[in-house]
Symmetry: C2
Subunit: 117 residues, 2 copies
């Protein structure tokens, strides 16, 4: 069970994290990991999230998220297991994962105060 190399959480900057999370596909991936709990395997995530991207594109996005310190990749046989670096990210950027969770692209239409002007 080798681990793919990843940055120490202390060396991760918010600049890089913001760039990583600015992409809708990567945001979807992180949310899926957060919601689905522990592990999600590479290609399974496409089916689970409904993303329609090629596997090389997925591989690219996973690398970006890993370099941004958000996720961890462990090699298990012929498969890669991906997980959120939950505790570390929460420690380094408190509240970040919570705010990612709150807003789906079209949720949150519950109660809008009348100050829309």
């Amino acid at each position: 069970m080798t681990e793919v190399i990843e940055p120490a959480i202390e060396t991760v900057t918010i600049d890089v994290v913001l760039s990583a999370l600015a992409d809708p596909v990567r945001l979807t991936l992180v949310r899926a990991l957060d919601a689905a709990g522990d592990w999600t395997c590479g290609s399974d995530v496409l089916q689970e999230t409904g993303l329609t991207i090629g596997k090389s594109t997925l591989s690219h996005h996973i690398k970006v998220l890993r370099d941004a310190g958000m996720i961890r990749t462990r090699v298990n046989g012929t498969r890669r297991l991906v997980t959120l670096r939950y505790a570390e990210v929460e420690q380094r950027f408190p509240g970040l994962l919570t705010m990612l969770r709150g807003d789906g692209p079209s949720r949150c239409a519950a109660k809008a105060p009348s100050s829309t002007a």
Copy 2:
């Protein structure tokens, strides 16, 4: 003292905020606002931040940040005064402004644990 139209904070999604903050110029602007308080829209900002962009580009970035709910623009005569929507952003996305503050592009080289492998 008219106010330029801005979104209600409740309608702002984290997706839009992340896209807005993913740009280094806009991140610089937000940090400058956070550090210095209010300022005017024009060449003051460029001089203060050391940014070397045209004024139309600056205007563009300010619009993006405003649409993302991060800043407010007030019209005062022939000038525009820009402020950070501090309390509102903090209420909607707790901790966000703090984590923007923490990381300069090259700071934070203090103590890296030996878990780099």
